[in-house]
């Protein structure tokens, strides 16, 4: 019961940071989502030791471990777009797959090249 209370408290804190991120987005007219701004703020607060990890860990851990639950309702919304995937829409799946190959290969090749170069310099 105590654990549940702590978790709810942590999630409330995460929610407040999210609202703060939204406020920053609106005030500064940024196109970066408020939630992402909130994430960066929390990360900065944690590494600068302003925030203790014990203030958010239980809630954050629960959300991360069950991340899929929170976007199921939106995903179910595809029910209104089924017609899109018949016929020509099939190409969309192919496009996503081709693009995914590029992302996986491209990001991997560049980072692997950089780390190998770094490792060579150290030896």
């Amino acid at each position: 019961m105590k654990k549940l209370g702590k978790m709810i408290l942590h999630i409330c804190l995460l929610y407040i940071i999210f609202l703060f991120g939204n406020w920053i987005q609106n005030t500064l007219h940024l196109f970066i989502p408020g939630s992402v701004i909130g994430m960066l703020i929390l990360f900065l607060l944690l590494i600068t030791n302003v925030f203790r990890i014990s203030w958010v860990d239980e809630g954050a851990n629960y959300i991360i471990n069950n991340l899929a639950f929170f976007f199921i309702p939106v995903t179910v919304g595809v029910i209104n777009y089924f017609h899109l995937f018949s016929g020509k829409g099939f190409f969309l799946i192919i496009i996503v797959l081709i693009s995914t190959i590029f992302v996986m290969g491209g990001s991997g090749v560049v980072s692997q090249w950089l780390i190998r170069r770094k490792e060579c310099q150290h030896e």
């Binding site: 929610y15 939630s35 179910v76 595809v78 081709i98 290969g105 991997g108 950089l114």
Partner: protein, 229 residues
């Protein structure tokens, strides 16, 4: 009164179906049994069987949506956990994911434009490589359809895992860093789960890449898309 009952049934129902999907995924651990795919399929079948409109389901569903924002904020936690690893390899991860993000956005936009799809679909497709809550937020900013973007994210995740052996070999990715960055930047949490099975280190790199790539994509997408459309 009726609405409150409907909302409660939708929320509790979604929760139990999700738990069931997680259990199925634990028993048969394949990319195609990803809990989100199973749970979504079950709910769609139920809605279709009883002729329940999506809008009715969302009377409850929208409350679950409320937690998507804090869910993104919570991603700072795994990034913080892996901060020592992150410090050691900041440049390779940052440059790698940035390159991957530019490739992913531009190939997505150009291919979809070339195939003649309308811009709201292109906006929904662009952020497919990042974790669903962030992809939905980016799609929303651009003016796309959030439900569609969630589906494209799922295709990128499951497809990426199904193709990863082939892709990693094709691009000669044999270093744990290259493999982890590739999996995390292209296939988000589903890719990260696969990396975790290979090694803890590769999983950590994949987690970092997933979060960093979510930040990078949400920053560069609007500018890059408007440049190309």
């Amino acid at each position: 009164m009726n609405e409150i009952i409907l909302a409660t049934v939708a929320i509790i129902g979604t929760f139990f179906i999700y738990q069931l999907a997680v259990r199925i995924h634990h028993t048969w651990n394949y990319p195609l049994t990803a809990p989100v795919l199973i749970a979504t399929t079950i709910i769609i079948i139920i809605l279709a069987m009883f002729h329940i409109p999506y809008e009715t389901y969302m009377i409850g569903g929208k409350w679950i949506n409320e937690l998507l924002g804090p869910a993104v904020v919570a991603l700072a936690y795994p990034l913080y956990q892996h901060r020592e690893t992150l410090k050691k390899v900041t440049i390779p991860i940052l440059v790698g994911t940035l390159f991957g993000a530019i490739l992913g956005i531009s190939t997505g936009v150009l291919l979809a434009k070339w195939a003649g799809f309308e811009s709201s679909i292109i906006y929904s497709l662009t952020p497919k490589s990042v974790t669903t809550p962030v992809a939905m937020a980016v799609t929303d900013t651009l003016g796309g359809v959030m439900s569609l973007s969630a589906v494209f994210v799922m295709i990128a995740g499951i497809g990426g895992v199904l193709m990863h052996t082939f892709v990693l070999r094709l691009f000669r990715l044999d270093h744990y860093l290259g493999r982890g960055v590739g999996m995390g930047s292209a296939s988000h949490a589903i890719g990260t789960a696969t990396s975790m099975e290979k090694s803890q280190l590769e999983g950590a790199i994949s987690t970092i890449a997933m979060v960093v790539s979510a930040v990078v994509v949400s920053i560069i997408t609007p500018g890059l898309v408007h440049l190309m459309l």
